[in-house]
Symmetry: C2
Subunit: 341 residues, 2 copies
Amino acid sequence: MAKESAYTAAGVNIEAKNQIIAEMGAAVRSTYGPEVLHGHGSFGGLYDAGRLKGMRGPVLVASTDGVGTKTMVAAALGSYETLGWDIVNHCVNDILVQGAEPLFFLDYVAAPALDPQAIVAIVRGIAGACRAAGCALLGGETAEMPQVYAPGQMDLVGTIVGLVEREAIIDGAGIAPGDVLIGLPSSGLHTNGFSLVRRLFPPESFGRYTELLGRPLGQALVEPHRSYLPHFRALRGAVRIKGMAHITGGGFRDNIPRILPAGTGVVIRRQTWEVPPLFQLIQQVGQVEAEEMYHVFNMGIGMVVVVAPQEAEAALAALEGEGRIIGQVVPWSTGERVLLE
Amino acid sequence: MAKESAYTAAGVNIEAKNQIIAEMGAAVRSTYGPEVLHGHGSFGGLYDAGRLKGMRGPVLVASTDGVGTKTMVAAALGSYETLGWDIVNHCVNDILVQGAEPLFFLDYVAAPALDPQAIVAIVRGIAGACRAAGCALLGGETAEMPQVYAPGQMDLVGTIVGLVEREAIIDGAGIAPGDVLIGLPSSGLHTNGFSLVRRLFPPESFGRYTELLGRPLGQALVEPHRSYLPHFRALRGAVRIKGMAHITGGGFRDNIPRILPAGTGVVIRRQTWEVPPLFQLIQQVGQVEAEEMYHVFNMGIGMVVVVAPQEAEAALAALEGEGRIIGQVVPWSTGERVLLE
């Protein structure tokens, strides 16, 4: 309808929404394999799960997450496509730690007013990351909610569903003292710690070239969350992965204990890797205590993999230089389960 | 940590978040059947899909949606548990229209500051609706994002994954002129039209007893979105369901055409059901044109089911008084595909 309806006057522009849906179509369809029977546009997306019939014990693994206030930094820089990569890769990592390969992904984007260009860019990023992960973008929703969202803000949420053979589930149960912690490098802040970052750096500083980083600060901040799917596949073919911890909100101290069996803790040797300049900059500017830094940020290690000591060398070889030993599993009874040395 | 950390000062209270997670545990576990191998707390939820092996052609159906600005009305009334029912039932309805039974659900709740009582109430509602639908609450995320969300506001998003035999997918392909439209009664506004409603009724009016409604206006507004799973099951056992349309945002005109094959339209006879008083009130107060009302609201019909004319009687019998014939499928070439008579 060309006329402004009562509903449009109330703040929801249905026409703008329809335009966005049409523009997103091509990006979405680029993620479809033959398993997708019906995608965006129908009430629910249909995914042919016929291949589960050939599995011994098919288990679905699902996770929902948001990118948090990284949206605020990205919006200030107009860097929307990177946000799409962020949410997909975050979700991919959250299920691969349990041994699952992604099947499909659904997104939710909400804002006080829909900016078609921003949303199309986000979906382009989501579709790119889905293709890279062999994952179908099966559905999604865009919501325009003036008054719920602050002006100029937005939220981006993703849900992933993956698949694993029951006997191949990685749950940390076999982890024992003496096992080795292998750290995989992060690509930046990933999607955590942005509340603190925004307190330290005003949007005006994002465009500033920063010597320590070799690029503008904002560019370093929005660097997309990387996917560890290639690392996972390489490791899975070479060694027995005893456990994997995705280093997200809460850093090392909150995420590693999630996979440790009773009676075990870990010692992490901080001198085994160089903390990337971006984290050093944050620590300096904010005068943040080191302990706090490791509790909020990934500090350059976005994924921790636990293997038996006799398999450490094979694991490192499989990672082709993208991993290093950063600590080990120790007996534990009281105190901090994650000791930072 | 008892001490206020730099991170807490930046606006994210990790302790409050952990407390909420603990309190939600009991509600979440109440939705678990033996299929849930690992739920809330792990990185991703694990769902045993072994039963798919016994199916001829298992197809997964997934959908993501939010409750929109119904959150604003619910927040003004402190009616959080109903919101939990809203989001689950909305999602259940979105996949049952394709013939799917729900397997599992994941929620996402975000607010500028987490109110533990509100979030626990929401999760209690989600868990209640999940139990009613035989659906596991497999995972979820709570996000605290000051600055992204306006003060006192929140968003609630859900993702559902369900299952259907390929040959039992309902897609509307067999719909033909002469087929009958059966309308199932809604329980109220469900989760649509709240932007318009909030423009007409200020929060101060929510507590006011309204003669026409027989209860306070706010109570009628937050009435939870009902699930049509019982109706679906009853119909499926009695007749061939040719198509189902969930009447959500965009009302009859946007939702019914989504299931119609080329060359068909529908005629809906408005005099076949009585529009509930709440919709009459909205129309009167807002002086909204009738056509607009049917484009925004469900007008008392939350689900439309299409069956062959010779099966209409059996369908109505199966629905035990919870359905009525509201129109029929007609040949279509140009103009409105949904004609309201």
